[in-house]
Amino acid sequence: MNDLVFFWLFLKASLFSTGGTGNLPSLHADLISRHIATDRQFGQSLIIGQISPGPSGLWVVSLGYLTYGLAGSLLALIAITLPPLLIVVVDRYYRRVEDHPSAGAFVRGLTISVIAVGAVVLVKVLLGSGGSIGSALAIAAAAAGLTLSRWVPVVAIVAAAAVAGLIAYGV
């Protein structure tokens, strides 16, 4: 595995995605099958992405670092930054493209697809988190419920989960 392959896998995933974790499904399939990353490393980088500052897409920078060192983190960062640059071309040459009925539908189909595949990937990552599956599902459900309710900020949910883990599994 060399820099170019690594970069291409990250670029490809980001090119056909929307949102900060839209590249998760493609990256997961590619990196796991090539044994570049493990489910565990995906989980770890998603956690770090959640707690560190910056837009949500930076979790791949963490994954790049875990799997390929500093070079990996830089390649990942460039890979997620390049695709959005195409918006300049779109803005220049396609007036009101966003109003075209198919453009919106294209994005809609893409988003639904990403989330459907992503849901399966997230479950796989969840099951690889270590510890008992029952506890993992319970924590996931509680966190989801609290997030949906909007009563508790995400940072607090993550902190509470960290404490729960320490209590359940010991120090």
């Binding site: 809609r108 459907a116 120090v171």
Partner: protein
């Protein structure tokens, strides 16, 4: 230290632009980058507050137009928005400055945190924390995904049977792809997106010019 410059006019129909310093642009995006914890909606609000409300670099209409436009951008929408605003304000130089402000400091912190984590990865306490936090992050991600997809699904339901059927097919295909280890994910994404676009085109033709 910072140089002042007139930004480029990207087309004759756009308004004359204002002089903004490179330093100010970097500083604004630097702050946005450091404060972006809550995810997309919070970051969007930060950008709007900084760029539209506080500094008038964009009018509310221009901002809305950009936000609508970046929905069809490949990759992360907020990056595309950053790029468009940076370009408007200081041309290609502005693009680099805004992206650098947004990404380099927070990217560096992310790498540092990862390094720190890797150092203590095998400590029992760290392992316990991960076992608690990872399921929580997955739960949060599910909610984020749900919030992202819900308006689209409601839109499909409003549009009628064809759209609902298409959406159901896409969901089924996506789930199947999640389990199929050899099938390229990108193929599923592209097929789903193209199918959705095709159905919309047919629907548009059938309904005539007015949607």
């Amino acid at each position: 230290m910072a140089t002042s410059t007139q930004s480029h006019k990207s087309s004759a129909s756009e308004e004359p632009t204002v002089a903004i310093t490179a330093g100010a642009l970097f500083y604004v995006w630097f702050l946005i980058g450091l404060q972006s914890f809550g995810g997309g909606a919070a970051t969007l609000a930060l950008i709007r507050q900084a760029v539209v409300e506080r500094r008038n670099w964009l009018t509310p209409e221009q901002f809305s137009r950009y936000w609508g436009l970046v929905q069809v951008a490949p990759g992360i929408n907020l990056f595309a928005l950053t790029i468009l605003i940076g370009k408007r304000v200081l041309g290609w130089r502005g693009v680099i400055i805004a992206l650098a402000g947004l990404l380099l400091p927070s990217g560096a912190i992310t790498v540092a945190l990862t390094g720190l984590y890797a150092r203590y990865e095998h400590a029992r306490a760290m392992e316990s924390v991960v076992r608690g936090v990872l399921p929580a992050v997955v739960g949060i991600a599910f909610v984020v995904g749900y919030r992202m997809v819900k308006p689209f699904l409601l839109e499909c339901r409003r549009e009628g049977r064809a759209s609902v059927a298409t959406a159901s097919l896409i969901v089924a295909g996506g789930v199947a792809t999640g389990f199929a280890l050899r099938w390229p994910v990108v193929a599923t994404l592209l097929i789903s997106a193209s199918l959705s676009a095709a159905v919309a085109w047919v629907r548009h033709r059938r309904l005539g010019a007015g949607r």
